[in-house]
């Protein structure tokens, strides 16, 4: 599994784990992000059960196991958090930050030692010691209880399934040609995102933030001008099109 630092500053760094060549065929490729501070590490959407060993291996490259103290699940999907039962056994002292709405469901993945920290609907902040991140509401995009993660220092928005692209092979990490890239995003967003109203609400909220990077859970990362291009493209896109 590929792992590298994406962005860093004095207080923390963002790391990606993904593009796993050993992942079993037939499962969707996912980007896992980690925020490493001096003495703690947060794993965003740690992924499915099939990826656990690769992810554990990657995570340990950046932090010893007792410093992996925080997990975040943007929503309840299996590619997001079905590995929870194994993380729960592996991490001596961890908290899972996830939408309050999904607590009773996510616990089905197995949770004996980990503390479930409910994120309320309006979102909140998580203090990682040397920095704070914000959980930004993204309900109905696509899950009914859903959050993006915003880092105001490095100006990164981890957007979960928003901005996701289903691209074959092992594409580069960053979008290089936005127009070309929309081919891999359109059908996904039209089908998975059910609500134009929810979409607009999220776009309005996100436009008020300073963002240099949008990092989705599948596919490539948007940077610089592509951030604005993506928001404009998403705003114009009709979603929830599978109603028959």
């Amino acid at each position: 599994m590929l792992t590298r630092i994406l962005w860093e500053c004095a207080t923390h760094k963002w790391i990606i784990c993904g593009r796993d060549p050993n992942k079993p065929s037939g499962i969707i490729d996912t980007n896992q992000y980690m925020i490493r501070t001096r003495d703690r590490m947060l794993i965003l959407d740690p992924g499915g059960i099939e990826l656990f060993s690769s992810m554990l291996n990657c995570a340990l490259e950046w932090a010893p196991i007792h410093e992996i103290t925080e997990l975040f699940a943007s929503h309840q999907d299996p590619d997001i958090i079905s590995s929870l039962g194994l993380w729960d056994r592996a991490l001596p002292k961890a908290r899972l930050h996830a939408p309050w709405l999904w607590e009773g469901f996510i616990r089905h993945f197995g949770m004996e030692n980990t503390e479930y920290v409910r994120i309320k609907d309006e979102g909140n902040e998580l203090d990682l010691g040397s920095m704070k991140i914000q959980f930004i509401p993204a309900h109905y995009l696509h899950s009914s209880g859903n959050f993006s993660v915003y880092d105001p220092i490095l100006k990164v928005l981890a957007s979960g399934d928003i901005g996701a692209a289903l691209e074959p092979g092992q594409p580069p990490l960053f979008v290089e040609n936005f127009q070309e890239h929309t081919k891999h995003m359109t059908a996904f967003h039209q089908r998975w995102m059910p609500s134009n109203r929810a979409k607009q609400s999220w776009i309005n909220r996100v436009r008020s933030l300073e963002i240099d990077y949008i990092a989705p859970q599948h596919g490539r990362i948007f940077k610089g001008d592509d951030v604005k291009r993506f928001l404009d493209w998403f705003e114009a896109l009709e979603v929830g099109t599978a109603i028959r």
Partner: protein, 209 residues
């Protein structure tokens, strides 16, 4: 039973499937035992009405009731054991999965973080403990199944006496004959369940070796 084994296409049946199947199969013995108990109460009522005609049969009803009660107790014990085995087997599978994932990590990672070895050992110990608990449970299950068999044999021998005593019950003959038929029916059903239990126990024993 064979259908279940065949449906796995040569794959090993997960132990929790076997335990859960045993739980459900032997849980139905409890229902049959309850019916037997009811049957015995019914027989008591008939023999009370029959007076002198029913005296012979009334001596047997106590045995039927006792056997039924014993079976209910055994079925409950088996149910608890099988349920415990199902849970322990699921834990064992989970811990084995953890071990497999940890084994996939490169060796330098294990050298770098001795805590991983502890984690591996913990998972191993847990799955070994679950397996040991299951071995004890299998032993106890076999014992209880043998006791149920013995109860059923007793009931089987009672049926013949029931029929003899029913034939001596004059105007109450048909009613008591029907009771004997019901007991016979229950014994056949119990034999089926016991035989299924035996097969499941054999599979479990094979897998636990």
């Amino acid at each position: 039973m064979q259908n279940m084994v065949d449906s796995f296409n040569g794959r090993r049946l997960p132990p929790y499937v076997l335990a859960a199947t045993l739980f459900s199969e032997l849980n139905s013995t409890k229902q049959t035992a309850l019916q037997l108990s009811l049957c015995s109460k019914n027989a008591q009522a008939i023999t009370a009405r029959a007076g002198e005609w029913g005296k012979g049969f009334s001596g047997i009803t106590g045995y039927i009731d006792e056997a039924a009660k014993e079976m209910i107790i055994l079925a409950n014990k088996i149910g608890e054991l099988a349920y415990g085995m199902t849970k322990a087997s699921v834990t064992s599978v989970f811990e084995s999965q953890m071990q497999v994932h940890l084994q996939r990590l490169p060796s330098e990672r294990h050298e770098q973080f001795p805590v991983l070895k502890d984690l591996y050992n913990k998972a191993l110990a847990k799955s070994v403990r679950s397996q040991e608990e299951n071995a004890v449970a299998i032993h106890d299950l076999k014992k209880h199944l043998a006791e149920i068999k013995s109860c059923n044999r007793t009931l089987n021998s009672i049926i013949a006496i029931c029929r003899i005593e029913a034939s001596r019950a004059g105007p109450f003959q048909d009613a008591l004959w029907a009771i004997a038929d019901s007991i016979n029916h229950a014994v056949v059903k119990l034999s089926d369940r016991i035989s299924m239990g035996d097969q499941l126990m054999r599979l479990m024993s094979n897998y636990s070796q």
